[in-house]
């Protein structure tokens, strides 16, 4: 009846006291009580979000001149932040879509939070190009809307316009994917809520879901097709983001390796951010049985893979610069490694390429503290990757008299740190009012991948084979046998 599950695989739901009732209780619990910790962090990040709004207001009022940009370096922190956030947004859809298509059961513990993270990260990302326009009120004209100016349409040859389409499609499709998965879980909360107001709110959110056979059948069809659509979509988005650079004629940007290199980097940074958030969430809401060390190890394997792909891309770029025999390209890379931004390049290399190599050791992959610290390292390293690509390529251009150095102003710093606050603020609200783990999906793997189901099967097998197969659960089963 069920897909085959090797008994050697570790369970994805720990605890021998688990059943459907307990799963519901555990996973809905975070929405039913409020901790002081949560309140304090929400207020703090909320204040940070207000500062973000203030800095954006300052930018609009006084103009882009309040940023540290100069004549040479026209793109700096803004576009760095934009690409960084978009990259972080990639893990959500990767986890929900690609891991669904590959039937990786460990996705059920982390997909919901990762999808939410995607949406919040894309919101943060979108702010940067929009406010970089300067005259934000003209932003609607990036879309081909009918107008009385000619009519004048956007240039459909431009990767910047492709980006507009890619990111808005990505945002709205991720939203659909996320919300359609939330309906059954909102219904779970609705049906167990006591208060009238609470019931009313969750009834609106659940859209009247009941869980009938036909609903589930269509649900599965919808999520499968959305996954199949999102998989090429997620790859296309970062490919197109990389086109923003790759189709230019700036040495250091004009390289054909950019699309796969950016996609790998995006998955890399996205998984790191998922780990950062999930390690906090599992601790804060006592979800250790559902986000297990097994989940963390699986994510760490992806981190070491994508981190190494990114490392190979860095080295390939260097080789190609040398091999091209093109003086300006060679200078750009020489300058990137040994020029005035040496410190940034070294930080990027050590955080992104060297530090994940620790994950070749199983004990490191399964260590929560190492994982948490490394996930932060990767987040920092990936921010510097974009900074290195964008700023070092622009800083020393063809004309030595215009060579420049970029220093951020308080507005630059405020917008960047503010966007992190916005992200965390939205995520905290999500984790308080929404089911952070996909309840229905966790239940659907309960009979295959939980510790309880494995113990039951081992017991059955054990009876048939003289106890040999029950080795994985020797402890509890032995006790059981004596009773």
């Amino acid at each position: 009846m069920h897909a085959y599950e090797s008994e050697f695989r570790e369970p994805l739901i720990n605890g021998l006291d688990k059943n459907y009732t307990k799963i519901t209780d555990d996973l809905v619990a975070p929405t039913e009580r409020m901790s002081a910790m949560w309140l304090i962090s929400t207020l703090l990040t909320g204040a940070g979000a207000l500062f973000f709004v203030f800095c954006l207001g300052w930018t609009v009022w006084f103009g882009i001149g309040t940023w540290g940009l100069n004549k040479t370096i026209g793109w700096a922190w803004d576009i760095t932040n934009f690409v960084w956030w978009i990259g972080i947004g990639h893990a959500g859809t990767l986890i929900s879509a690609i891991l669904l298509l590959f039937r990786q059961r460990y996705r059920t513990g982390i997909n919901r939070a990762a999808e939410a993270m995607t949406i919040f990260a894309v919101i943060c990302a979108g702010m940067f190009p929009v406010f970089h326009m300067g005259r934000v009120w003209d932003a609607p004209f990036i879309f081909p809307i009918p107008n009385t100016r000619g009519p004048v349409w956007p240039n459909f040859n431009s990767p910047l316009l492709w980006d507009v389409f890619a990111i808005s499609t990505y945002f709205s499709v991720s939203l659909l994917f996320w919300y359609s998965g939330l309906l059954p879980d909102f219904a779970t909360i609705r049906d167990r809520s006591k208060g009238k107001f609470r019931k009313w709110i969750y009834n609106i959110a659940a859209f009247g879901w009941t869980g009938s056979a036909k609903q589930w059948q269509r649900f599965e069809s919808l999520s499968l097709v959305l996954a199949a659509l999102s998989t090429p979509l997620v790859l296309s988005v970062h490919t197109i983001v990389s086109f923003d650079f790759a189709t230019s004629v700036i040495p250091g940007w004009h390289t054909t390796i950019f699309p796969p290199y950016f996609v790998a980097g995006a998955i890399f940074s996205g998984f790191a951010m998922v780990e950062t958030l999930m390690l906090i969430v599992r601790k804060l809401f006592n979800l250790e049985d559902y986000i297990t060390i097994n989940h963390i190890e699986s994510m760490n394997k992806i981190i070491v893979l994508t981190g190494s792909i990114v490392g190979i891309a860095y080295l390939t770029e260097l080789f190609m610069a040398w091999y091209s025999g093109y003086l300006y390209e060679q200078f750009a890379f020489y300058n990137r490694i040994l020029g005035k931004y040496l410190w940034a390049y070294a930080l990027m290399m050590s955080c992104n390429v060297l530090s994940p190599q620790l994950y070749w050791f199983k004990s490191m992959r399964r260590n929560i503290y190492v994982t948490f610290i490394l996930s932060i390292f990767v987040n920092i390293g990936m921010w510097f990757e974009r900074f290195v690509i964008i700023v070092t390529s622009l800083a020393d251009d063809y004309l030595p008299s215009s060579w420049a150095y970029f220093s951020p102003t308080w507005v630059d710093i405020g917008i960047y740190t503010g966007s992190i606050s916005v992200f965390l603020f939205l995520f905290l609200l999500f984790s308080r009012f929404f089911p952070t783990i996909a309840i229905a999906e966790v239940k659907s793997i309960f009979r295959t991948s939980s510790e309880v189901a494995k113990a039951e099967r081992a017991k059955k097998e054990g009876a048939a084979h003289g106890g040999f197969m029950g080795f994985q659960h020797v402890g509890p089963l032995d006790k059981d046998a004596k009773n």
Binding site: V152, W153, F156, N157, T169, D191, G208, T210, G211, A213
Partner: protein, 179 residues
């Protein structure tokens, strides 16, 4: 007229439930609906549900997006406002591909999701009929329409559920018609 009188059988184990569905259908008893807290693999076949055509709808919406994006960009760049971008062709098909792809995905995803909501009767604030509040928690339910059944048929169904491992069987009568 829709029924208001039902029998609700409740199970708490996925495999027992699936077996019960097969057995009950084999006995020729009509199942009105099934309610489960999570998707049960093999339930579609056990209930004899027809395959959904939702993915076909998704394809058609996607094809609409493709066509619309390609024709619109071609019309703008060749007819409505042709512009010379550094001597490049007026109809650069390769650079239309990214936007065409995005629009295909956008139309397909939105069209399919909206179709899904409409077909499943899901919209914000809809108050559904709740047969048992635990069907979204830890109980797998089978619903039988009892409006036109005789007393003996009803007790037969109840006994059948019990013998198939149902942990509870009860009557459910709604006073208002379904919205």
């Amino acid at each position: 007229m829709a029924s208001n009188k039902f029998i609700v059988g409740l199970w708490d184990h996925e495999e027992v439930y699936l077996h019960a569905v097969e057995h009950i259908r084999h006995e020729g008893i009509e199942i009105y609906d099934s309610l489960t807290p999570f998707p049960v693999h093999g339930l579609d076949e056990a209930l004899g549900l027809k395959e959904t055509r939702l993915h076909s709808a998704g394809f058609l919406f996607g094809a609409t997006g493709t066509t619309l994006a390609l024709t619109f960009m071609s019309w703008v760049m060749t007819t409505n406002y042709p512009l010379d971008f550094g001597g490049k062709p007026y109809w650069p098909l390769p650079s239309f591909i990214p936007i065409t792809f995005e629009m295909t995905v956008l139309f397909s995803a939105w069209g399919m999701t909206l179709t899904y909501l409409v077909r499943n009767k899901l919209w914000p604030g809809r108050v559904p009929r709740i047969f048992d509040t635990r069907t979204t928690d830890d109980r797998l339910a089978l619903i039988f329409d009892a409006e036109k059944l005789s007393e003996s048929q009803i007790s037969n169904i109840k006994a059948m559920c019990k013998s198939q491992g149902a942990i509870d069987v009860k009557d459910k009568v709604f006073t208002e018609n379904e919205a």
